[in-house]
Amino acid sequence: MLNRTADTLARATPSRVARKVRGLSDRGVAWLFIAPTMLLLLAINIFPLVWAIGLSFTNYRANRPNEPIKNVGLQNYQRILGDSDIWIAMQTTAHFVLWTIVLQTLIGFALAYLIDRKFRGHAFWTTIILIPMMLSPAVVGNFWRFLYQPQTGLFAYAVSFFTGIPNTSIDMLGSVGAAPWAIVIVDTWMWTPYVMLICLAGLRSIPDYIYEAAEVDRASPWRQFWSITLPMALPFIMLAVLFRGIENFKMFDMVNLLTGGGPGSTTEVASITLKRQAFESWRTGYSSAFAIILFVAVFGLANIYVKALNRVKQR
């Protein structure tokens, strides 16, 4: 590392020691470097957002571009807040977010705690565990439809093997009661490694001397866990929870491919509702208003996230 640096510096030394042209000023360089990114984000994120805000006050329908656009004021927003389907979708989303977070945090932390025992081969098995989270939720979610098939699927076979329930009655995606859990299971399978990895970093950040001091004070392992391990890993757990919360609040791809919101609308999370309104019913104005409401919700979460992130960083 140091050698490379010295090398680079040696090569960096110009033949003429004093140069007359120093190029752009620092201020110029700073703007030259930052501006392209900002312009791109303004064009691809902010401009469409402003457009959507404008549309959210109209009755515009994207499949009928020639129809006159009427300004309807706050009507779209009023309708959304009074629409029972929207509230059901928000409840479905809340159920999904809550249970995936609970399961992923419990299993993820437990796994991290066990991996931190540093048994033989732990690095290899950690890598194996991490694989599902790197894969495309859409492509893998699609394959879970095959695993979930009641007649021939591996999941139904495994459940009936262990419980004795006939496999044909284990219809995870087709039954109203099971479908919300089917998506929770796949999401937990995929993203538990994510929580595990962050928790593991938290556990490894706890210095050994704290445990050594606790040993001297004859604190029981139980006591050590509750007074040292858990509180010191907590900021990391929170970070993982917030990330998963935001991601699952936006969840679209996996659910769209597994159930498409069905059966009926039992797994219709907010993003699926939005897609149905915007790209199937073509209520562009109405769906823009719903999109804005979701933005505001995610921004709230993002704000909390950045505060938590800074707190973790300060440690």
Binding site: L9, T13, N45, R117, R145, K250, N256
Partner: protein, 316 residues
């Protein structure tokens, strides 16, 4: 001298290690089953793939891969027997099912689209991200924290919510269903990750290196090019792989904004159907081919993974 006893958390007992290892390995094995099953299904014949109880031992077949790359039409046995002998394995398998290969499927063009869009957007995002990250890392930018938060917040938007106005905008600009449109969009999504990650990496390079180079007569741009960039190579490579994985895996935008010429593999793979429903061995074959690059990258990225998934918030 050592204060740690055999019961200390610092040095776990052999027994606790063994128990921990057993549980973790069990979890790993169970969690990897769906992936092994994808691979196994890809080398099964269609009847084997839907046998019950599920077949663990079976005769491997490349039929799924044949079906993935071709489209087939049903023919009468008389017609098939009148054909010249099968030229290759795929011909033979198809004829056994009373079908003939009609032509190539859309899988290859969709896969190429995925490659073009993923690599194109990764290059753009890393290029823009490196510049912006250097700008934020080294200069006093007014409102830097707000700008950085703004950059991050663009990533927090639900893709479907962004897709509505993007769809309208692209329709006006003629960018609907075009690779250029998708590259621009993925660049915008990935640049936030790139800026945050790379700022962390560049922050770790001591300023003294550039200052020394500048005292020696280098301009700011030269010292950025010749001193900072070579030092940041690892960070840039890791960031590029993260951007690549995102663009490769992305589904929501691709499903809503592309339908034909620019469609990528993720929205295409679920639409692979055979006679009487989804052709699961072909789907599994497409999934396997699609997942292999990511498996390789995951192993390569092991050490940087944590940093990547937390936007640089947690570093080991």
């Amino acid at each position: 001298m050592s204060l740690t006893t055999a019961h200390s958390v610092v040095a776990p007992t052999p027994l606790s290690k063994r128990i921990a290892g057993t549980i973790v390995i069990l979890y790993a094995l169970v969690s990897i089953v769906p992936l092994l099953w994808i691979f196994a299904t890809s080398i099964k014949t269609p009847p084997d793939s839907i046998a019950y109880p599920p077949k663990v031992i079976f005769e491997p077949s490349a039929e799924g891969y044949c079906n993935l790359f071709t489209t087939r039409t049903r023919q009468t046995p008389e017609y098939i027997s009148s054909l010249p002998p099968a030229a290759n394995f795929c011909d033979e398998v198809t004829r056994k099912r009373n079908m003939v290969i009609a032509g190539p499927s859309n899988f290859l063009p969709r896969f190429v689209n995925s490659l073009v869009i993923a690599f194109g957007s990764t290059f753009c995002a890393v290029f823009l991200g490196t510049l912006a990250a250097y700008g934020f890392s080294r200069f006093k930018v007014p409102l830097a924290d707000d700008l950085l938060f703004f950059i991050l917040s663009t990533r927090m938007m639900p893709p479907i919510a962004v897709a509505v106005p993007i769809y309208l905008m692209y329709r006006e600009l003629g960018l609907s269903d075009s690779a250029l449109g998708m590259i621009l969009l993925y660049t915008a999504v990935n640049v936030s990750l790139a800026v945050w990650l790379l700022k962390g990496f560049i922050d770790e390079i001591p300023r003294e290196y550039e200052e020394a180079a500048m005292i020696d007569g280098y301009s700011r741009l030269q010292s950025f090019w010749r001193v900072v960039l070579p030092q940041a190579t690892t960070g840039i490579a890791a960031t590029a792989i993260f951007c690549l994985i995102f663009a490769w895996n992305e589904y929501a935008f691709a499903a809503l904004l592309t339908s034909g010429t620019a469609q990528t593999a993720p929205p295409f793979i679920p639409t692979i159907i055979g006679e009487g429903g989804q052709d699961w061995p072909a789907v599994a074959a497409g999934t396997t081919i699609f997942l292999i690059p990511i498996l390789v990258f995951t192993v390569l990225l092991r050490k940087q993974l944590l940093r990547g998934i937390t936007f640089g918030a947690v570093r080991k």
